[in-house]
Amino acid sequence: MERRRLFVIVLGVVVVLSLVAAGLLRAAPKEDGRPGAGRVGLVRVEGVLVAGAGGQFAGMTASAEEVAAQLDRARRDPNLRAVVLRINSPGGSAAAAQEITRAIERLRGAGKPVVASLGDTAASGGYWIAAAADRIVANPASLTGSIGVIIETANLAELYRKLGIGVDTVKSGPYKDMGSPARPLAPEERAIFQSMVNDVYQQFLDVVCAGRHMDRERVRGLADGRVFTGRQALEVGLVDQLGDLHEAIRWAAEAAGVPEEPVVVELTPRPWWYGLLRGIEGLVARWLPGRPAEVKVW
């Protein structure tokens, strides 16, 4: 009887261990297995920057906590020689940009080169974090710049009046409800908001000046909120070179002293349905070789 139960226990343990091992294998970062090859980490920043945990829908938010954790992991991993930050972000929270910037600085402090590769858009907060990298590589048509800070409040008082909605506010201080949509912004409140915008703007300028090695006046001339194409940004010194992700990886590898084609380690996990959609797209392209190339101009 004992032998029979031992047999079942051994079988159960083997099955459970196999499932756990398969789970770990699936969760492991995907990379090619060339032994001894130099490794470059790839961290993706996609969507609006938020300081919290972010959402499940890729392309909508990029969590600063998660991006910083991936950068810190790259810093601790002795096999990773450099990191490429692939940025596709219109910006977002300044605090989120600062958290990612600090992680980039820690990484650079550990002696690992960091290259920012700009995708469709790396504007405002997206450019903020790019400016902290050793080098910025942009596509000629990437949208970047938008150096500036904005706070928007909505004044819905007239709408509330038409709908017959009244808002009663009980507050501990005169500015506790500043920015309330139930009434127009008071001049003193506008001044407070403006001082906040100015302060964060100065912080943004600090990052760009330090990262791009440009004097403050020159940066201020570019930092009126305008957007640049990658090519225009190269001309004014906001990016270092034109190129795609592949060229950014090559540069990162060379900067880290990796002479050959590096192994790229994806450090940003994708949601399960992302692979599904990309896979279907790839299969369609594979089975329909005559499909014309897509050109998008928005």
Binding site: R5, F7, L17, S18, W272, L276, L277, R278, I280, G282
Partner: protein, 203 residues
């Protein structure tokens, strides 16, 4: 559901199937069989989900299988459950045609327990992810065939014990439904081809 009793049932199916199925014929542990069947199906589906992206021949296929993974696993479990009811019912019906006197509960239990050998494929699937492609195919085919034959033998033994049939009749009970299905598919394919040929004017 006591674990030692469950363990004895599992070990019995692996090590002493005839004796175990003889006990099933007297008193069918339907709940335990259903539980084990679902456990084995879930383990197999989970392992397939976890390993398929690495085994897919193309990166795109790997991405699709990885993306669909858990949805496919749930569908697989639903399919497995439906198969358990439908196929064990069919086996019971055919067994009665062949003169069997057993209960449907007994056949249901036998069908559930006969899935136990497929549990061996769970660690096997993990092992093959490290094998080169040619070796993977070369070894998986005989192993999968071996497990399939093992399962069929268990079904035959179980139907024999539950319905009190001879081994030959029990084998017929188990093999007639898939054979009939295969013949039906062949006949349908042949008529389809004949129809297409006639439509195209091919003699």
């Amino acid at each position: 559901m006591s674990l030692p009793v469950l363990a004895d049932l599992v070990a019995g199916v692996y090590l002493h199937p005839v004796r175990t199925f003889r006990e099933v014929a007297v008193s069918a542990p339907v709940g335990r069989a259903l539980f084990l069947y679902l456990l084995v199906s879930a383990a197999g589906a989970l392992m397939a989900v976890l390993t398929t992206p690495r085994l897919a021949p193309h990166p795109q296929l790997a991405a699709v299988s990885g993306g669909f993974g858990f949805a496919v696993a749930v569908m697989f479990l639903a399919w497995a459950l439906a198969k358990l009811f439908v196929y064990s019912g069919l086996l019971h019906l055919v067994a009665e045609f062949f003169g069997g006197r057993g209960s449907a509960r007994g056949v249901f239990t036998v069908y559930g327990l006969a899935s136990l050998p497929t549990l061996v494929l769970v660690p096997w699937h993990l092992l093959v992810t490290w094998l080169p492609g040619y070796l993977r195919v070369g070894l998986t085919v005989p192993v999968a065939l071996g497990i399939f034959i093992w399962t069929v033998v268990l079904l035959i033994l179980g139907v024999r014990e539950v319905h009190g049939l001879t081994t030959a009749r029990a084998a017929l009970v188990v093999l007639v439904p898939p054979a009939a299905l295969a013949l039906g598919v062949l006949a349908a394919a042949a008529s389809l081809l004949a129809g297409v040929g006639a439509h195209l004017g091919i003699p």
